[in-house]
Amino acid sequence: MLGCLLASGFAWAELEVEKEELKFGFIKLTDMAPLAVAYEKGFFEDEGLYVTLEAQANWKVLLDRVIDGELDGAHMLAGQPLGATIGYGTQAQVITAFSMDLNGNAITVSNDVWEQMKPHVPTMADGRPRHPIKADSLKPVVDKYLAEGKPFKMGMVFPVSTHNYELRYWLAAGGIHPGYYAPDKGDTSGHIKADALLSVTPPPQMPSTMEAGTIYGYCVGEPWNQQAVFKGIGVPVVTDYEIWKNNPEKVFGVSKAWADANPNTHIAVVKALIRAAQWLDAEDNKNRPEAVKILSRSEYVGADYEVIANSMTGTFEYEKGDKRAVPDFNVFFRHNATYPYYSDAIWYLTQMRRWGQIAEPKSDNWYLDVAKQVYRPDIYRAAVDSLIEEGKMRASDFPDLAREDGFRAPQIHFIDGITYDGTQPNAYLDQFTIGLKGDEVVQ
């Protein structure tokens, strides 16, 4: 205890933070956990930071507030800093030095759609569906809707959200075209050539929107898939862990202007967040029940304890009663979850290109350049060095950062069996049947 106090006392002398009072925004989702934990466990205060956490209405408001300086930083969709920097949607320089988690999303369909899908879903010996369920089983349903002249409508949370890309990935892997964007032609709805119409719905409203019949399914983070199960209004069919094992999820984003003006503060924030992430995953998730308790408070996620606990403690309930173990459903620290890999950024950029949000063909170098502008492992490393120096964490908690080149080993665990190598974005895009590649543009 005394050592800890001394060490943090030392930190003030070492790192003079430029701004002590900070306000961070978040969206009511379980993966905001590192922020809540860093606050509640006093990690922010250890760094001499007085942080206020504030729930935001939706992703657009959150991004705008970070850009105009009302918020110092926020829990963000990985696509937001990238999209803002390349000028898709809002144009502004937003950077990230901390990746908040891996996995954590799922795709849910309404009870009605599930009943229609079920005959096409392969089963195991005990009669339960065999996972992962591919969109192949949804295709006959979508075809039926299309034949009847009814558009098949689904929800995602934001045009540059992980959820949009995951839903599109899953649909396309099953032969359902999710549609192209054509921003140069003024089309930002993403419905060109679409078999399934994807629209934006804020996460907490997903279950009620689906119940109202406005959408037939959605891709969203927790607890809004489990909520649908608890309320009996839908069935999660696939988790993003099954679409791409250990896929990067949210990031902690700040505006570049803020980061330039407050470099030490930025490092201090990342230090607190790294400790929070480690606490969340420590000793086989032994702290998760406590984390769930924090998250279920009304000022954070606010959903019921049982609903949040399902995914956070490593299980996931598909059809009501069909509860299965997914120990890595939410990863905050293991598998270097917190490191801002360039290859993660590049994957998001490839998806923006695949669906036409980036209208023009880009060179492999362009992808890397953008990734380097937005993802800042240098700040992350400064934070880690400082944590190790102060004895708050051990060097063995991290991979050898000095030898880290920012690229994960080629990823092979995709639902369609395609390999992703971050150093070859254009070659990666060439492997898909559905989606833009090479010099193609949306006509």
Binding site: A55, P204, P207
Partner: protein, 337 residues
Amino acid sequence: MATKLITATQPLLPTAWLPKLAGLWSPERLNQGIRLLLVPLAAMALFLFIWHLGAPRIVTSLGQVPGPVAVWEQAGTLWQEHLAERDKEQAFYERQQVRNSKKLQKNPDAEVRIRPYTGKPTYIDQILTSLTTVFAGFGLASLVAIPMGILCGLNATVYRGLNPLIQIFKPVSPLAWLPIVTMVVSALYVSDDPLFSKSFVTSAITVMLCCMWPTLINTTVGVASIEQDLLNVSKVLRLNWWVHIYRVVLPSAIPMIFTGLRLSLGVGWMVLIAAEMLAQNPGLGKFVWDEFQNGSSHSLGRIMIAVITIGFIGYLLDRIMLQIQKAVSWDKSAILR
């Protein structure tokens, strides 16, 4: 003025209320008491009973609609949360004290400050925020509307010029004003150490834009309908403009002005909640929106408490304004309700 003062203070003198107290137990009094007290109570009880029976039958995606008992329990929880947060606040300040003294020990010249508490605002805090905001917005609206109304009432040309604008802006909803106000405030209200937070300024201005119209219109009418005799007197005495306003116009227009103010405050309170919900500005509106987003099984109960609180505060505000209106109204025989 002196006689008026006496009438205002009269009910406070013992001579005024002692006989009343004695007469309280007469049969007619009792009868009246029953009507005044028992009928509303019975209506309230009937309402609660119907609510109690009806609520469990409605099941929504957020869960069952809570009955009066569940809502009452949530009110208790909110109060407990308020107390718990206050404890946390105290601990927060104590930690800062320790931190600061350590910092000073290390370096006696170090600059230390006590930072305001960073925890969540409790339900009570949200109520106070909303009240402050509505009074700020209402105050601003009155500052603009009363002088403008007087001008419009005095001068028919000004009135004709402004009337189209008034008629066009009057029906605009806060939801339409908010995006514009937000943008203008974030562009213009730039300061390193702002006195008020941006969200407060945005909410207050939105309230002002929506609630100034009843005051403006009533003031105009009040000023325009001053008795010709009074105006003639003013002319004969050759009162200068300011004295004319101060001695003649204002006193006779005041009852109407207060009718307008009372309407304005009601509108302002209603508008504020909508503005807070949409802009996520602190206050009761944000509380409702956050709870809706939480989707917990307690959310509906907590939203209902907010609804009741909003209604109750709206009622109280109206009563306060009514009392003021009664006090300033010349015509004591008019029934105001």
